[in-house]
Amino acid sequence: MSAKHGAAPAERRDGREGAARKPAIPKAAGSKSKAAASGPTRRMGPIVPASSVSGNTLIMVIAIMTYLAALTVGAADLVRRTADDWARDVVRETTIQIRPAEGRDMDASVARAAEIGRSAAGVVDVRPYSKQETARLLEPWLGTGLSFDDLPIPRLVVLRLSGETPFDAVALKEKLEREVPGATLDDHRRFLDRLVAMARTIVWLGVGVLALMLTATVLSVVFATRGAMAGNRDIVQVLHFVGARDGYIAGQFQRRFLRLGLKGGLAGGIAAFLTFMVAGFTAEQGVGSAAVDQMDALFGRFQVGASAYAGVVAIVLLIAALTSITSRVTVYRTLRAMN
């Protein structure tokens, strides 16, 4: 059965007789009268009013979560890169140190140690430091103008490692101690290995913290969506009665929440960018001072890399997407519970 409101209503508002217009029937030819044609273009307001969603609170929560998540990403990235540097250095070289002693022929000992080092598996290059070179290394601490001939200076042999062929530090250490009196193999390898392992743990911790923060964000959005739906119950009911599908209703809420997610995410992301830049700038200011240089040597320059900035952008997008998807799923679930 098709409804056709063919007849004009018996009564019109202005009470004038005749000239009765047909009611608005979409396909009725000629019904696009002047009133309709002159109708202004209308921008439709949102179906879920902005004021009905406790938006500012959620934006704050999302901004804070994004900020903390971004800082976590930055910190984890810094630690990861430092650990990578360490790991690379550790693979690259190790040092034999020969302590001076009364009546010990240092040059012979260095030569012997270099020979042993060269024959060890995994060593690609051996560089014995001469007395002068060693002295130069010590200059910053002892100053120039000292005669090193009189000082008992330890001597160094630096071994460059291939990193591919396995290098047996323990065997080399034992052989050196047996054959070259006063020689030790610097054991910073194992120490650094442990530091690297620790750094990796910290990175994984960061990933865990990140996951927790994203979960907290999702939960906040669930609560906010439920609140918005409870506050807009009348709207949801009317939408149902006029034949809206659940997907359409969910889409209306999702649109609202995507906006909130983007706003909060951007605020948090920009704050994190600024923090990185200020921290990098502050670190830059200290370059040249001994303390900062030593920090640099140990931890690398506090300079957040491009990967961290990319990570922040990813976090912002991820949080906006999570917000939007979470609200959609929550609306679906709530609608199902309502029916």
Binding site: A36, R42, L239, G243, Y248
Partner: protein, 219 residues
């Protein structure tokens, strides 16, 4: 187009509000649904527009059994039914135009495709000058007509109206009744729930009378 068989309804653990209802709404028919206040008119309308499921009995709407109807098919059926609520249920944050256009909007239609129709329909119910007014500033009669326009805009096959003249003066009530009669003549089935005897005397139509939970039909 709508068929009830031995339908019973109770709210929660309360008494049966409706009992053993067996009747049909035929295509292109006009009927009053009447009975004293509290007789169950609104409840019966709720069953008819699929807002409630019966506690027993069979309700078929457009040939579909609503007890076994999958959830996702509800919107499709609801779009074929126009409802005028007793309390209008206009959305306060939307203009008259937006409220009336809502059924078309949620059906996914483009605004430019229905603007002319909606403006014309609003003119038809006498709200041509009130397109941009929010419900808060509309009078009771204007809200009533906006609610009616929203129920009509998608050209439903069946129109259900709950006390559509309850809040208006007798003169406007007569105009609204005439509007429904026109609608019926153009092919729509109309059910008007009312306890206003004077209104029913204005138009000779079938009466469904609710009394103590049971329905009596007077042709």
């Amino acid at each position: 187009m709508l068929r009830f068989e031995n339908v019973g309804l109770r709210y929660g653990l309360g008494p049966e509000v409706l009992r053993d209802l067996t009747f049909a709404i035929e295509p292109n028919s006009f009927q009053f649904l009447t009975g004293p206040s509290g007789a169950g008119k609104t409840s019966l309308l709720r069953l008819m527009f699929l807002a409630l499921k019966p506690t027993r009995g069979l309700v078929r709407v457009f040939g579909r059994d609503i007890l076994t109807l999958p959830q996702r098919e509800l919107p499709g059926l609801r779009r074929r039914i126009g409802v005028v609520f007793q309390d209008f249920r206009l959305l306060d944050h939307m203009t008259t135009y937006e409220n009336v256009a809502l059924p078309l909007r949620v059906a996914g239609r483009d605004e430019s495709s229905y603007r002319a129709e909606v403006v014309e329909l609003l003119g038809w119910v006498g709200l041509g000058e009130r397109l941009d007014a929010l419900p808060l500033v509309l009078s009771g009669g204007e809200k009533q007509r906006a609610a009616i326009a929203r129920a009509l805009v998608a050209q439903p096959e069946m129109l259900l109206a709950d006390e559509p003249t309850g809040n208006v003066d007798p003169q406007l009530a007569r105009r609204i009744l005439r509007l429904f009669v026109e609608l019926h003549k153009s092919g729509t089935s109309v059910v008007i729930a009312t306890h206003d005897i004077a209104l029913m005397d204005l138009y000779d139509a079938k009466r469904l009378v609710l009394h103590e939970g049971r329905l009596h039909v007077y042709e």
